[in-house]
Structures are given as C-alpha cells and as structure tokens.
C-alpha cells in the first residue's frame, strides 16, 4: 500500500489496492462540466481512424515501424549496468545520453553504443543529491535539470571540479514533469493559480500559466491536476495534458491557450467524490472497475511534433499485474494541435534524438531500449 500525499482530513482510496467503499448520497462524478471544453472549440478530435496526411502521417508511419538497435541494462553485472528504475532519459549531446535512475538516485551517462561514461548524484538532501527524482532535462551538453518530488528542481552543471549543483529551485508543490523552453525551466505541478510554472535560468519564478482541474475541493483539484508537460521550441509552445482527461492543450509561453484537442478513444476513469458518514471527504478513482486510460508521455520533437502516449488499463492487466494493457501513441502538431493516431506498438518514449527513440522498460528488469526510425523515404 502506498503512502499518498498527506491530505489532512481527506482520504483517497484506489480500487487497485483492494479497498472497497460504499458510494454515499450526494456524490459528485468527475469530470464535471466546467472541465469539459466545448467540442466546437477543439482544434482536433484524434481517433484511431484519424488520418492527418502530409508530414504528420508520414512520420507516424515511420515511428510505428521503429526497430530495436540497442539495449542498456543488465540483471547483474558492474553496478553501472544494473539499473534500479529507469525514470527518464535525456540526449544531452550528440553521441551521449543520460539516464535518471530513481532507485539509486543518480544520473548515468552512456555513449551511443551503450558504454558507461560517468555518473553523478546520490541519495540525500544535499547538493547533487536526490530524494525522489522524477524527471530529467538538459539545457546544453553540460547542464542538467532534475525535478525531485521533494519539492525541488536542481540544476547541475559540469565544472572543472566535476558535476556540481549550481541552483536549487524550491517549489510549493510536488513536481510531476519538467521541460526546458529556450533556457527557461517549465515545471508541471498543481497549484491553485495554475499548472505550469516558468522559471528563468537563475531560478526566478517568472509566471504560472495553464489551468489545472477545476474544483472547489482542494484535494480533487490536486489529484486530478497531475499530468505531463512538454516544451516545443518550434513555435515556443508548452503542451500539457492532465493524467485522467482526454484533452491535450498547447500554450504560448505568455500563457495564451492556443489550442485544445481531444483524444477520441480515451477512456475516462470513474472518479467519484463524496463525504463519508463521519464527515470525512473522499475521492475514489476506478471504483467498480472498467477500462480506463491515463497519459504516460508527452514529448516534443525538434521539428514541432509532439508524441502523446496514453496507457490503457484493463481488469485483465490489473489481474496480471502489468503496468498497462496497451500503450496508445498519437502524434500532434505543436503549432496547430492537429494530430494522428500512430498505433499501439511504440514503446514508452523517454527521449527522441535524430532518428533514435530512447525508451524505458522494467520488464523483465530495468533497461533502456533504443530504437531507430527509418529515414524518410526508406522502404519498409
């Protein structure tokens, strides 16, 4: 049983943990109307049969046919080759990629052949130490940004003396995701004022943009404002998606909502809010079973495309204790929000650089798997 965030009087039960509750009168079923945008205003409704044509469709077809070219990580061997948990990957320079291991609380760097180069970080609360690292981004070849669920963002740079922590950005929330727009750091995490928090390279908070889940209930607002974020350099767009809702949104860095698109085949989890007989409020997710989706990945590519991946959870995948039953991949334009469904064969994407996709896997043991996308125009 996991320890969820301390929530005062609130009690949150997950059906998957085996706890059962009785629905009370006066319950609220989410999402509520205020969180459902009008269909007429949507940039696109993207379903399995969507065919966008052009560059988007062509890349989607190549992405679906990517082939495995490299596996990094062993069941046993030198410590540098045994991962605890592959949380994130970032290609910070040509021929190198960094892996964030959230069990060993460190970052390991490998070359394009999977040869270990160096590592930095260790467990703890001090400089270059992590408690629960969640996301990794780079800002150039020697500057790394790590979001730690200990309500911090840490910026670590290479110096003549080695990798050293240059900056700690204290947060008023638990970060869920992280991206870099230009040199600004964008951190996704729920606050009453918004969802996406922009910081300058020296750690000053610039602004908060984007709306999280709307509710007068603070815990509902926090719990349902979890999600993912990605930064697209082309067009300077920040893309965000709440974990349990089918809407993908594109914001300008000034906070302007540029577009909203909906994933047509996204199955919303049953979310119920109510009050116990003793007056304790509760929120239930997934009570009663049923298939549901949640966003796993938002990743912006250099050319203005965005990969969206949603995980389909079913009763069977729960019984079999799998991470999910299927992973559905979509490709959207960061500029317009128009998109196409790619398929359910693309593994969970952590980074894309050139024609390589970097993915993480925990089965049968933690690994990084690298796939290559066929060049444009190549025959399959």
């Amino acid at each position: 049983m996991s320890l969820l965030r301390p929530a005062g009087l609130l009690f949150v039960a997950l059906a998957a943990a085996g706890c059962e509750r009785t629905a009370e009168a006066g319950e609220i079923n989410h999402p509520t109307a205020e969180n459902i945008p009008a269909e007429a205003g949507l940039a696109d409704i993207i379903g399995a049969k969507s065919r966008a044509g052009g560059e988007l469709q062509a890349f989607a077809e190549r992405l679906a046919k990517a082939r495995l070219v490299l596996t990094v990580g062993k069941l046993e061997g030198p410590p540098s080759t045994v991962f605890g948990a592959v949380e994130d990957v970032d290609v910070h320079m040509p021929g190198r990629f960094a892996v964030l291991d959230s069990r060993y609380n460190e970052v390991r760097v490998f070359d394009q052949n999977g040869t270990f180069i160096e590592s930095f970080g260790r467990p703890g609360r001090g400089p270059t130490e992590f408690l629960a690292p969640e996301a990794l981004e780079s800002d150039g070849p020697d500057r790394f940004v790590v979001a730690d669920r200990n309500a911090q963002v840490k910026v670590i740079e290479r110096t003549p003396a080695g990798m050293q922590q240059r900056l700690t950005i204290p947060l008023q929330f638990t970060p869920e995701d992280l991206c870099v727009l230009g040199h600004d750091i964008v951190v996704q995490g729920p606050l009453p004022g918004g969802l996406l928090h922009l910081y300058s390279p020296d750690g000053r908070h610039q602004r908060t943009i984007g709306g999280g889940y709307q509710s007068t209930n603070a815990l509902v607002r926090n719990q349902l404002s979890d999600g993912r974020a990605a930064c697209s350099a082309k067009g300077q767009t920040i893309i965000a998606m709440l974990r349990y809702l089918p809407y993908v949104r594109g914001y300008g860095a000034d906070g302007t909502l540029r577009w909203t698109s909906r994933l047509a085949d996204f199955r919303t989890i049953k979310i119920e809010e109510g009050v116990e007989p003793d007056g304790q409020p509760y929120v239930l997710l997934g009570e009663g079973g049923g298939d549901y989706d949640q966003v796993e990945v938002l990743h912006a590519l250099d050319d203005g495309l965005v990969i969206v991946q949603t995980a389909r959870h079913t009763a069977q995948s729960g019984r079999e204790r799998r991470d999910y039953a299927e992973l559905h991949t979509y490709l959207l334009s960061a500029e317009t929000g128009k998109g196409v469904y790619v398929g359910n064969t693309v593994p969970r994407v952590l980074d894309v650089a050139g024609n390589r996709i970097y993915t993480g896997s925990s089965e049968p043991f933690p690994q990084v798997r690298v796939y290559e996308i066929a060049p444009a125009g190549a025959s399959s």
């Binding site: 996991s2 045994v82 060993y104 467990p123 408690l131 049968p364």
Partner: protein, 206 residues
C-alpha cells in the same frame, strides 16, 4: 576468617573491575551460538556480528497492507534470505536480516513479521515514523514510501572510529531495492541478482 573473606571479596571485586575495564570498548560479546557461517538449510539468525563488511537484507511491510500479505511473499523472502546469506558468505561478508513492520500497534507488527520467518533484528510500531522506515525510506537511504519492499544494503562493521572505543557501522549504501509484491517475487524468482560487489577483506567473527 573475616579477614580472609574481606581479602577474597576485595580480590574478586578487583578482578571484576579489571575484567570490566577490558570489556569497555571491546566488541560486544557473542552468544554461545557458533560463529561459523551457515551453510544450507532455512535461514536462522547467526547471533553473532562479524567485523568487516556485511550485507543486510531489510524487509518493510505491514499487517494492514494487503500487498504485504500476499501468500507468496513469505516463501520468496525465505529464498532471498538463504540466497543472499550464501552470496554474502561467498563474498567474505557478514550477513544479517532486518524485519520492519510499520504497524501502529507493535504486537500486530510483530505478528506480521513472524509470518516471514526469522530475522536477526526486528522493528515495529509508529507507522511511517518507525525508526527503520525513517532510515530506509525517508532519511539516510531514501526511497519510495511503499510496502512491501525489500532492500539490500552494504556497510562496514567494527571499530569505526579506529580508536578501540567505538563500535558500530558506517558507510551504509544501497545495493538494491525492490518495491511491491511483483518486483519482490520476480527478483526472488530471478535468484536475487545483485550488482557486482567489490572485493573485501574477509569478515571476522569474535
């Protein structure tokens, strides 16, 4: 006679003082159990601490946590104890097991741990503020706040201040952490593989 008794008493008292002085700063006395490494069979606490490097298998669970009470976990944990004990012996390390129950009610926590066989050391009570949980989840060896989980840590044991008067552990580091029933069961099924451990001087018994 009284003088002889007094002299004898003084001699005995002096001997006790002398022995006591020798005892200060020494290694904790071993029990009468053999210090020889265990070979084969179910896991049983060694009742001895070997100076040098030791591996420690830590289990954290709770009687009130459904996944911690999965029917396959006790057997898996026993496999892990035996395999890791043998691995430690082969690597010239000492070995110990620690069971931590994060129950509020101590007796319930201890009852939960009894389902998992023998441990060298147990802790129970105070929920997430349990001393062992603080060490292996929140503080020195931070990790996910989730149960069940198992960790293997490695540390040096002995006269850590090198002055003959301070006995303890130092340099504790995480070797592996597995969180959740599935990970633990899979790891046990895989034979409890570990990252390669550095060569060390043989652990010494008393």
């Amino acid at each position: 006679m009284k003088r002889a008794i007094r002299r004898g008493a003084l001699l005995a008292a002096g001997a006790l003082v002398f022995v006591g002085a020798l005892a200060i700063g020494r290694r904790p006395p071993a029990s009468a159990a053999t210090p020889e490494p265990q070979r084969g069979g179910p896991y049983r606490p060694a009742a001895v601490t070997r100076e040098g490097t030791e591996l420690v298998l830590v289990y954290i669970g709770s009687s009130g946590c459904v996944p911690s009470n999965h029917e396959d976990l006790p057997g898996a944990l026993e496999q892990l104890k035996v395999r890791l004990r043998d691995r430690a012996d082969g690597g010239r390390r000492g070995f110990a097991t620690v069971g931590i129950a994060r129950d509020w009610v101590v007796d319930e926590g201890l009852a939960h741990l009894r389902k998992y066989g023998s441990f060298d050391e147990v802790m129970a009570g105070r929920n997430w503020m349990n001393a062992g949980v603080r060490r292996y989840v929140w503080e020195e060896i931070p990790g996910e706040a989730s149960t069940p989980q198992v960790l293997v840590v490695e540390r040096a044991v002995g006269d850590v201040a090198a002055r003959g008067i301070q006995y303890g552990t130092q340099g504790e580091r995480l070797v592996v952490r597995k969180v959740g029933t599935d990970e633990i069961l899979a790891w046990a099924q895989q034979g409890a593989p570990l990252p390669e451990l550095a060569a060390v001087s043989p652990a010494r018994g008393p």
